[in-house]
Amino acid sequence: MTVKHLRIDNRLIHGQIVVAWLQAIGADTVIVANDGIAADDFQKAMLVAVSPPGIREKILSIDETLAYVKDPAHAGEKIFLLVKEPADALRLHRGGLGLATMNVGNMAFAAGAKRVSNTVFVGPKDIEAAKALTAEGVTLTCQMMPTVARGDFMQLLAKAKLG
């Protein structure tokens, strides 16, 4: 499997990713999978600019991401995959990504969102996508940094009376 880790993190490439995750996962490639950003040159440039040296960075739409990871030419890469929200993770899963586990990192507070943890807030669309992923056999973990304990996202949702 060429995708080593999928992280749901609305901040995409930021301090925690650059400082800790890429190294912990041993990634040589980081893919940001987001339709809006892939179509916006300036937002793309901002992500390209902050990617750490020595890491191949790709800013792709969801469809392009699926094509990229399935391409045998990229079979040797160690990919760290970032999406903004569970709905995009679900699209990747349904498109044949084939990951058994996905991790929820940060999800910032948005209007109407409910608190799951200090750094994770979810809206109805997020909960729906998380439930669908689980129903389709994907385990959702909740882990902000590689050095802290890995939580079970659906258990946290249940605890917050959201699941």
Binding site: G15, Q16, V19, A20, D41, M46, M145, V148
Partner: protein, 151 residues
């Protein structure tokens, strides 16, 4: 694990620790912060640094890192004044967030002198003209598009 003590003027040390804990996800073992108070005699501050180091488990020869905000200023001077009694101490000035994060991630695997070197290198490398970096990346993205390369 090499203990790290941050010292500085006003809210600097607490602020840096607060930023570290936000990024690393919570309180860090073996990390402390100490502020020079406006009315404080540097000799008194040296005494408090000494106590803080002891509380971090640093004894006599053992290694520790002090990150101070400004070379030649009282917090840094107070730290270096302890060197005769604490020869294992490394004091690095110009403390910044990138160097602090790097240290905290590597201090299980490296000794204090090596960490001091890493702090200097990382602290310098991390100072960037971010606006220029983004402008250049934007120009690259647009040039690629004009060449008709796939995204």
């Amino acid at each position: 694990m090499i203990p790290v003590l941050i010292v500085g003027h006003g809210g600097f040390a607490d602020g840096l620790r607060d930023a570290i804990e936000m990024i690393l996800g919570g309180p860090q073992e073996g990390l402390a912060a100490l502020a020079l108070r406006p009315e404080e005699d540097p000799v008194e501050l040296a005494g408090r640094i000494d106590v803080a180091l002891t509380e971090l488990g640093v004894e006599g020869q053992s290694g520790a890192l002090v990150l101070a905000d400004l070379f030649g200023a009282s917090p840094a001077n107070a730290a270096t004044s302890l060197l005769p009694r604490r020869p294992g101490l490394q004091v690095v000035t110009g403390a910044n967030l990138p160097m602090a994060l790097e240290l905290l991630m590597l201090r299980d695997t490296a000794e204090a002198p090596e960490l001091a070197g890493i702090a200097l290198e990382r602290g310098r490398d991390a100072i960037k003209d971010a606006g220029a970096v983004v402008r250049e990346a934007y120009a690259r993205v647009q040039a690629k598009k004009q060449d008709g390369e796939p995204r």
